[in-house]
C-alpha cells in the first residue's frame, strides 16, 4: 500500500486510537451497519475479531471519549451472530433507525415535561427567586443524572 495516511495511522498509536474511536462511534448509525452487512464485512473472521477487540471502549478510561453511547450498545449486539445476519435486511435497519429516533425524541419530551412540572411547582408555591433557581437547578440536574444513569445502565 502506498498510502501515506494509512502508514502514519498504523505507525502512530494516537492515530490508531482515533481511528478506533471514530469507527466504534459510526456503529451507532444503522444505515452504516446495513452497508457493512451488505458488503459481507461481517463474514470476515478478522473483522469479527476486530469488533470483539473494540469492546475495550467500555472500560472507564476509554468510555469518556465516546460521544455516541448508543454505539456501544450496538457493539454488544454485533458480537452476536444472529444480529449480524439480520443486518443484511434493509427493512430491519430502517426499523432500528425508527426506534432509535423515537427513543431519542421520547427522552426529549420527558425532559421538557420534568422541567415544566418543576416550573409549575415553583410558580404554584410562590417561593422567592433563590428557591426557584435552586429547585430548577436541582430538578434539571436530576433530569440529567437520570438520563446519564439510563445511558450507563444501557451500556452495561
Amino acid at each position: 500500500m502506498n498510502d501515506d495516511l494509512i502508514q502514519t495511522v498504523v505507525n502512530d498509536d494516537r492515530q490508531r486510537f482515533l481511528l478506533d474511536l471514530e469507527f466504534v462511534q459510526t456503529l451507532a448509525n444503522p444505515q452504516y451497519l446495513n452497508f457493512l452487512a451488505q458488503r459481507n464485512y461481517f463474514k470476515n473472521p478478522a473483522f469479527i475479531n476486530y469488533l470483539k477487540y473494540l469492546l475495550y471502549f467500555k472500560e472507564d478510561n476509554y468510555i469518556k471519549y465516546v460521544h455516541y453511547p448508543q454505539a456501544l450498545y450496538f457493539l454488544d449486539l454485533l458480537q452476536r451472530e444472529q444480529f449480524r445476519q439480520e443486518l443484511v435486511n434493509a427493512n430491519y435497519c430502517r426499523y432500528i433507525e425508527d426506534q432509535q429516533l423515537l427513543a431519542w425524541q421520547r427522552l426529549q419530551r420527558r425532559k421538557s415535561q420534568l422541567l415544566n412540572s418543576a416550573v409549575g411547582i415553583s410558580t404554584a408555591t410562590n417561593s422567592n427567586n433563590n428557591e426557584v433557581e435552586g429547585t430548577n437547578a436541582q430538578l434539571s440536574a436530576n433530569a440529567i443524572s437520570t438520563s446519564t444513569t439510563a445511558n450507563n445502565t444501557q451500556i452495561r
Binding site: M1, E22, A28, N44, N49, Y68, Q100, L107, Q108, K111
Partner: protein
C-alpha cells in the same frame, strides 16, 4: 288501664291507640245511655263512665307529654346520625388519602433503596468528570433530541454521513479512491496507447485484497474501507488483545464534529 299505661314494653303509639279506642267506646256507651235512658242493663253508671272517660283523658295528656319528649329525643338522634354520616365521609376520604400516601411512600422507599444499593455498588468518580461527560453527551444531542427538532432536520443520535466523511476514515477512503482513479486513468492511457493485456493483471492484483461486493444496496458506497481495513486487521491479529493506549490522555479528537 293503669297497667297498660305503665307497661314499658308497649310503645307510646300503641298506648295512645288503646287509650283512644277505650275513650271512643266509653263515649259511645255514654251517648247510647243518654239516648236510651229507658234501657235496663246498664253495666256501668253514667257517672262511672264519665269518671272513666276523664281518667283516660288524663292518661292521654300524659302520653302526649311523653310523645313531645320523645319527639325532641328523636330530633336529637337524627342530628347525631347526620353528624355520624359526615364524620364517616371524612374518614373515608382520609382513608383514601392514606392509601395513596402509603403507595407513594412505598414506591419512593423502594426506589431510594435501589438507588442506595446502586451507590454502594458503583465506582466513584469525581462529580466534575461526570458533569463534564454529561455535558459532552448533551452538547452533541447523542441521547436526547434538541428541543427544536422537527421532521426533516438532519441531526441524528449517531454520526451522519457528513461527519463520517470529514473524519479520519473518510479522508483515508477519499485518498484511496483518488489513488484508484489515478491508477485507472493511467491504465486507460496505457490501454489506448499500448493496447496490451498486462494492464488487466495489475487491476486484478489491485482488487485482490477487496471483498466481492454484494451490490444489493441502491446507494453508491460512501466508504471504501477495503484498502486500509486489511492493513489494520493484519496488524491487530499480530498483537494480542487490549493494547493500552496510555498516551491517549489527550481530549476528544477534533475529527468528530
Amino acid at each position: 288501664m293503669a297497667e297498660i299505661v305503665q307497661n314499658t314494653n308497649l310503645g307510646t303509639r300503641r298506648k295512645l291507640e288503646l287509650l283512644l279506642q277505650e275513650m271512643d267506646t266509653i263515649c259511645r256507651e255514654i251517648i247510647s245511655q243518654l239516648y236510651n235512658s229507658s234501657s235496663t242493663n246498664n253495666n256501668f253508671d253514667t257517672q262511672t263512665l264519665v269518671d272513666m272517660f276523664i281518667e283516660r283523658q288524663n292518661y292521654l295528656t300524659q302520653q302526649i307529654h311523653v310523645v313531645r319528649e320523645q319527639q325532641e329525643l328523636e330530633r336529637q338522634l337524627q342530628m347525631k346520625r347526620d353528624e355520624i354520616l359526615k364524620c364517616d365521609r371524612a374518614l373515608r376520604c382520609l382513608q383514601t388519602y392514606l392509601l395513596q400516601a402509603v403507595q407513594v411512600l412505598s414506591s419512593a422507599v423502594y426506589q431510594a433503596r435501589e438507588k442506595l444499593a446502586n451507590i454502594r455498588r458503583a465506582k466513584t468518580f469525581p462529580s466534575e468528570t461526570i458533569i463534564r461527560y454529561a455535558h459532552q453527551l448533551a452538547s452533541c444531542y447523542s441521547t436526547i433530541a434538541p428541543d427544536n427538532w422537527q421532521q426533516g432536520d438532519i441531526r441524528r443520535p449517531y454520526p451522519t454521513n457528513i461527519a463520517m466523511n470529514r473524519g479520519l476514515l473518510g479522508r483515508i477512503s477519499e485518498q484511496t479512491l483518488q489513488q484508484q482513479q489515478q491508477q485507472q486513468q493511467q491504465m486507460n492511457i496505457q490501454n489506448s496507447t499500448i493496447n496490451s493485456t498486462t494492464v488487466v493483471n495489475t487491476s486484478t492484483t489491485q482488487n485482490a485484497s477487496s471483498y466481492t461486493p454484494v451490490t444489493t444496496a441502491v446507494r453508491p458506497p460512501k466508504h471504501d474501507t477495503t484498502s486500509f481495513a486489511s492493513d489494520i486487521f493484519s496488524t491487530l491479529n499480530e498483537e494480542t488483545n487490549a493494547t493500552n493506549c496510555s498516551s491517549s490522555d489527550t481530549d476528544s479528537d477534533d475529527d468528530l464534529l
